[in-house]
């Protein structure tokens, strides 16, 4: 079980490894993450990884390209539409919606 927290909404939820962040936020609009293309192209759902990066799936080339548009690195920022929880050491993930 991984505790996932979204900022700035402050919404928190327990989720299982293998769950997609987009499925979690779709089921919980209170997480308040904006989406648009939902397919690694527009970058609307960028979030800063404040904690628990090692509990997240690795970014693929499509995601890295989109992050590059905004000058972001996948170690610090992810696209919610592409990211899944994976089993790892971290039991707490904190994601903050990018404000730029």
């Amino acid at each position: 079980m991984i505790r996932v927290r979204f900022e700035p909404s402050g919404f928190e939820i327990d989720a299982e490894p293998g769950e997609a962040i987009m499925d979690i936020t779709d089921a919980n609009p209170a997480a308040d993450v904006p989406y648009s293309c939902r397919a690694a192209t527009c970058g609307t759902c960028r979030v800063q990884v404040l904690a628990g990066g090692d509990a997240l799936s690795t970014a693929d080339i499509d995601e890295i390209e989109v992050l590059d548009i905004f000058g972001d690195s996948p170690e610090e920022v992810r696209l919610c539409c592409q990211t899944k929880l994976i089993g790892g050491a971290a039991t707490q993930v904190t994601l903050k919606v990018c404000d730029d």
């Binding site: 989406y35 648009s36 293309c37 192209t41 527009c42 609307t44 989109v66 548009i69 404000d99």
Partner: protein, 411 residues
Amino acid sequence: MEVTATEEEQKIEYDPIYDPFNPELIADPYPFYERLREEHPVHYNERKDFYVLSRYDDIYRALRKPQIFSSAQGLTPEKDEISKLGIPPTFIMMDPPDHTRLRRLITKAFTPDTVKALEPKIRSFVVERVEAMKAKAADGATIDLIPEIASPLPTMVVADILGVPPEDREKFDPWSDAITSASADFTLDVNNAIGAVQGLVTYFGGMCQARRANPTGDMISKLTQAEVDGETLTDWDILGFCFVMIAGGNDTTSNFIGNSTEQLDKYPDQRREMIENPACIPNATEELLRIESVVQGLSRTTTEDVEYYGTTIPAGSKVHNLYASGNRDPRHWGDDADELDIHREIDKHLSFAQGPHFCIGAHVARLMIRIYFEEMAARIGENYEVDWDNAERRKSGFTRGYTKLPIRIKL
């Protein structure tokens, strides 16, 4: 059905390789696009001073590099379109990070929940329109699909999202037509477009003031209360959003309905399959979007020198990205790229663009289209034929669709 050139158009010496104002290209652009892809993958239109990209990979990469291919100078090949038209600052004509901040404000109008909530209203509207068409057909009338359903459907949805009352919605179509149409030459239509922009600014300017005084919960009310970097949006900022919604959302779905009617008429077996098995509709929609992109292409401006196939596009050049050509590039889609195949595995077509400017209303458009196909299938099915002799194609090199599409419904 033919697109005929006016006397004025016949006097113009068009660029024979690619000129969006060439009536021959407007009538059938695909042979032009094939020649571009095969012989001139980076083409310079000397008459209007802009470059053209036509291969899928080149366009895809350009759209995903806004640092080099900027939207800030407008989206047509015309160099000073923003100042010419006097349009408000719109986020589609900005680059990250300014674009990102403004775009995020209206993504909330397009969340899955918000889009899903539109479904009953859209279905009820479509059912009412389809039944009205059948009633007219029962009286012996030929039905023009465009004014009967294709055009009113997106108008209703855009107006509903913006909060425009029903009695004012008929103003939209002339505005969006004037802004998105271009016939003989950009300069010939600019006065019409300016008038449309002024009409839009006056109407929505009044609405902004009314919503600031009495917010109602519609998008304009929300925008009057929104903040970017601690500052509220001005009426002029909000007018930019309205401009995007009207110009981008109003006639695109309408044109799609016209184009898909044509495609499905050419491929009756696939049309039958969609009617008999509505589960096909979502993938068929993507294929129909691919094969006939409503937005044929949009331009960017280079921020640095860029080289393609040995040709240098200098910094500051307008580059027109032909989505409709990339969508039929056999290098990406295979040798049957010109054929409709509703079972095709669609990766990323270009019809909603790619990159940070991906169409913000794509999910609403898909919803409207799905409901349209479902209700047409259930209520009319294959029982209609298109009167091609009286159909009229939209006269624009930038958007593809029909202004008139009569059908005979067989009851």
